[in-house]
Structures are given as structure tokens and as C-alpha cells.
Symmetry: C2
């Protein structure tokens, strides 16, 4: 095995097309990051053969037996009760034990959230973890959180998510001081619920002392326009916004296909514009944005879409590698310790 | 004046391009609905001349002096205190007095909401009015509410919004028994906040006795796919979802333009596909969906987008005409009276 790179624990049995896409995804990721090694949790002849048949991959992989699988429809509480020893649990356990720097699973989202919370816990100063993802925008890419881990959030949650999201943007988008916006129903200071207004005041009070630049309130259309690097909201609105954007994008794809088939002239037009349209499709390829991350835990857990292919799974692994390499957890701990010790507050008082 | 059609009160001074777009919009609406008459509230020579110069329109219009205008940045509380006598207030007052069946304004949204609530009040059985609009979907059109009038909603609010939305879909989309979905973070019965789960139970308990078919929970991507005729949610999520969909659609327009300009081949492709693309743009034309409605008041108040042109304003007038003609208010009162008297409940008990 090549040394020095991070070790990523893989749940080989999670997702619609496991273990094939997990192993082929790991192989693609290995081409990009040759120094990464994998701890692969799962069982069965298919898995063993898939690994064995790729010489390069097999040298980077350590296969570990995990005979049970958490089903896609298991409730989080069931997964917590009966999930021990499963491929997902074992992958997260490896992160907890320090054997791996991050875990990636395409399995049951609720179960992954519950088990990672249970095993990895939140560091001091963080009340609840949040789910974050990267979206394509007209300017580039934007981080959004929470995407559904916490349906209701208080001001402290939103404040903490802002810091977590900024540190994630730094690690994954390489932006030193990301801009952060709080999602609201209007950009005016008076709008919104009490918790949003309080969170905004907290972020403004620490202006210049946090690893971010707070841009105030933003609205739904600012998410996709790329107005800020990090969009912070509660899990209900974040989930709704993400899925609405995905649904609208799909509708456009559907309309475009129908339009180019609607007349012979349009079909000829498509032939001419094909390579340009292909580049656009490539830019918006949802597989490139695969990999939702649970932020705010003592360990890195990445969720790949359950229906993802190998290319998409490799991108989820890429997110885990970026976060490990950047030292995301260390920067989170340092930032929240500073907040805890009141270093920031006393700093601002002495001004 | 031609008799029998509904009378619509117009705030001639609201919106970025008032009074031009209001009067030209009324003229366009009059071509579509020749039996409608207008009570126009405003002042100034421009307004008088605009009306006078259109012979057909001037016969359908009664101009009434309203010298003050509520500014675009006035707070709702200021508008309530100082707005009396303004063009917006007077238009709503005409609805209250029964002189007009509906009012249309392109002015300040918060002010319109506050003044219409104050003047028109909610009928018995309705706790709070909601803001609704029609959206284009892949199947046709869908009603969504609340779009921002109530940032937080309890189960009773959501239940009432479902009925109001269904009656609005009946009036505006001509669907006899509209399907209704509650926006949530998953389609499973166990997901979501308590208020959403309770609202779902209330709607299920009265299955078959309401003017709608309840389809359970839906997710963000179901809004634009047109899975249901009516999407019910709280004002925060509804506002975020609407603006996210608008923003994503705009992003696609931007990307398409860039794509067709990206190479000579693509530009040729555009020339061939142009008329098909124009039909698509026409189908998605946001002006066709202009006109947000305040549902749940003793009167009809329609909000046109402030930046709308005459074509868009005419569509907002069209929404008001549809609702007046259908007898929307009567059906709302009848439905909520049935609920109040317990007719429905005793009906279900006797089963």
C-alpha cells in the first residue's frame, strides 16, 4: 500500500447497485487520488471478486467482513438497535477508532445520520450536526446546509451551521473566507422568524472574527444565482429548496428534449448545437455534486446518493478525501474551542 | 358600460411602471373579458389621458380620485396607519363596500396583505389568509400556498389552506376535485413536524367529504413535476420553494443563451431550433403566471408583480375575473360553514 494518503472506510453494501458501484467508484477515485487507501466493509463472493479483479485497487484495499446490511427502508431507531456489525456501522466504527479518516456510504440516509451521531458524537460547542452538499450555480459552486437533518432549528443551530458550512467550503471549494447568507423570505433586516433574526445578529456581532464573511439574508433565487458561497437554513427549508431546484432542473431537461423533438427544424438545430449542449449537460451533471456530508461530528461521514453510479460514488469519495486532507475536523474543533473559551467575545470587548 | 360582468377595482398607482402598465393591462384584459368593468383609483394627468385615449376602455372604466400612493418600501404597519385614502386602500375599500368583486394591485405586497386583512377580514372558520399562485409544471399548472403571508403555520392553518387552495384551483384551473399534497421532507407518513402530521391526519379523516382529494406528503421535486394540483405548505417554505424554482429556471435560461453563443455551430443550431425554443419560452413565460391571490378573506385581492408589464398585469386581472365569476367567495363560505356546524363530522360519525 502507498503511504501518507488518508484512509477512507467504505460501506460496500449500501445503495441500489452495491457492491458494484462502490468498488468501481473506489477504483475511479484511486486514479484521482493514488495515495488513498480504503477499508472496505461487506461480504459475499461478488465483492471479493470485484476487488480481486482490479490489481491496482486490490493493493489499496483492505477487505473486512461485515455480514449484515441495513435495509433501505429501516427506520433510524431500528438501525441503531440492530445495525451493529453491519457494513455501514462497521465503516463508521472504523472512523471512530481512528483507523479511517472518513466513511462513505450510499445506504439508508436516516440510518447513516443516526449511527454516525451515536458513534461519532458532536464536539464541544456544537449542539447538532447538519447535512451539507455542494450545488452548481451560475457563478460556480455553493454549499447549502442543513438539508434535512434538523427540521426545526434555533438561532444557535443556525449560527453553528454557518461556521461549519464556511469551514466545509474552505475544505471542498478552496475558498479562504467564504461568504455566508441566511435563507429568508426577504433581504430586509426586519423580515423572518425570531430565530433567523437572532442568528443574523450573532453572526454580525462577531464580524471579522469568524472564518467567514456574513452577507445577511438571501432569498430562494439567490441560492442558484450563486450570490453567496454558503447558504444556511433549517433542514426543512433546505430540503425543500434542494429538491425544488433539482425538480426544476429536471423539468427543463424534459422540456428541452421535447422542444428539440418537436419539429424537423428543431431536430436539425439540435444536431448543430449538440456538442455545446453536451458541455452544458456535463457542467450540470448531478453525479458531479454527489456526496452529502454530515458536518459537526467527531469524524467525517459522507452520504452518496443511493441510486448513484460509480462516477457519482467516486465524487462522494472525493469529498471525503478533500475534507480529510484539509484537516476539516481540526479546524472545526479549533474554531468552536475559541468560541467556547470566550476568546472571541473578550476579543471583541477589548476593541 | 356593458352590464353583467364583474367589476374589478384597480390600484392605478402601484408598481414600478404605474399607471401605464395598469391601464394598458386593463385594456388587454378587456379584450379577453368584454363584460368586465373597472373602478380605477389614482390621480394625475398621465392617468386621465391614458384612459381617455382608449375609447373602448374609457367606456368600461370609472375613474376615482385617490391622491396618495403607498410607497414600495413602506412597512405594513405604516401602510395601515397612514394608507387610508391611497389608491391601494381605496381599491380594497371598494371591494369591502361591494362596489367591486375584486381588487388588483401591483404595489407593496406587505401593505396589500395588511390592508386587505384589516378591511376584508377572514370569514368564520378561517384563522389566517394565505397567499397563493399558479405555477407551470411538466403536466400543466399547479397552485401553491402559502407563499409568505404566514412564516409559521399550525395544523389548523395548513388544513384550512388545503381547502382554500382546492377551491382556488377549481375556480382558476377548472378542476372539479383537485388533488392536494402537503409539502414535506419525505413521502413516508412518519416524516415531518408535528403540525404537518396532524394536518395530514385531519385531511385524511375527512376523506371524501372535502372539495379535494388528499394525496399525502410530497417533496420539493414534486412541485414542478405537477404531481398534485395544489401544494400546501407554510409561508417560509412556500416562499423559498417558489423563489428557488424561479431562480433555477432563470439559471437555465442563462445557460441556454450562453450555450447557443458558445460556438458558430451552436449558433446555427439555435437558428434552426428557434421557433421551437420560442414556443417553450412562451409556455414558461412568467407573465402568464402573474397574479398572487390572498385567499381566506371576505373579498378577493390579487397582487401583480411590481415589475410586471401590461401583459402580466392583464393576467393578474384575469385571475380576479375567474375568481369573481366562479363565485369563489361563496364556495369558501359554504365549505367553512359546513365544517363549523360539524355537519361533516356528524356525517362521518354516522357512517
Amino acid at each position: 500500500m502507498v503511504a501518507n494518503g488518508p484512509t477512507i472506510a467504505l460501506d460496500a453494501m449500501g445503495g441500489d447497485k452495491a457492491p458494484e458501484i462502490v468498488i468501481r467508484g473506489a477504483a475511479i477515485a484511486l486514479e484521482r487520488f493514488p495515495d488513498v487507501r480504503f477499508l472496505v466493509f461487506g461480504a459475499g463472493e461478488t465483492l471479493t471478486k470485484l476487488v480481486a479483479k482490479d490489481k491496482v485497487l486490490s493493493e489499496a484495499v483492505e477487505l473486512r467482513e461485515a455480514s449484515s446490511v441495513i435495509s433501505a427502508d429501516a427506520k433510524p431507531s431500528q438501525a441503531l438497535r440492530n445495525g451493529k456489525g453491519s457494513s455501514m456501522w462497521s465503516a463508521l466504527e472504523a472512523v471512530k477508532q481512528g483507523e479511517a479518516q472518513a466513511a462513505v456510504s450510499a445506504g439508508n440516509t436516516g440510518a447513516l445520520m443516526a449511527i454516525s451521531k451515536f458513534l461519532l458524537r458532536t464536539p464541544t460547542g456544537i449542539d447538532r450536526p447538519a447535512m451539507a452538499s455542494i450545488l452548481p450555480t451560475s457563478k460556480g459552486e455553493t454549499v447549502m446546509l442543513d438539508l434535512g437533518a434538523n427540521l426545526e432549528c434555533d438561532a444557535d443551530n443556525l449560527f453553528q451551521f454557518a461556521i461549519l458550512g464556511a469551514l466545509f467550503a474552505r475544505a471542498s471549494l478552496a475558498i479562504e473566507t467564504p461568504t455566508v447568507g441566511l435563507l429568508n423570505v426577504g433581504a430586509e433586516e426586519l423580515k423572518g422568524s425570531d430565530q433567523i433574526k437572532t442568528a443574523a445578529a450573532m453572526l454580525r456581532n462577531l464580524e471579522g472574527q469568524l472564518p467567514l464573511k456574513f452577507e445577511g439574508f438571501i432569498e430562494g433565487d439567490d441560492i442558484i444565482s450563486g450570490k453567496v458561497d454558503v447558504v444556511v437554513t433549517d433542514g426543512f427549508s433546505g430540503n425543500v429548496a434542494l429538491k425544488t431546484a433539482e425538480g426544476t432542473a429536471r423539468l427543463f431537461g424534459h422540456f428541452m428534449r421535447r422542444t428539440f423533438r418537436s419539429s424537423p427544424m428543431a431536430a436539425i438545430g439540435y444536431l448543430f448545437a449538440r456538442s455545446a449542449l453536451k458541455r452544458l449537460r456535463n457542467h450540470l451533471d448531478p453525479r458531479k455534486y454527489n456526496g452529502a456530508v454530515f458536518l459537526g461530528l467527531n469524524g467525517i461521514a459522507v452520504k452518496s446518493h443511493g441510486g448513484s453510479d460509480a462516477f457519482g460514488f467516486a465524487n462522494a469519495v472525493g469529498v471525503a478525501v478533500d475534507m480529510s486532507r484539509y484537516g476539516f475536523l481540526g479546524s472545526v474543533r479549533a474554531e468552536f474551542e475559541r468560541l467556547q473559551t470566550g476568546e472571541l467575545r473578550s476579543g471583541s470587548e477589548s476593541l
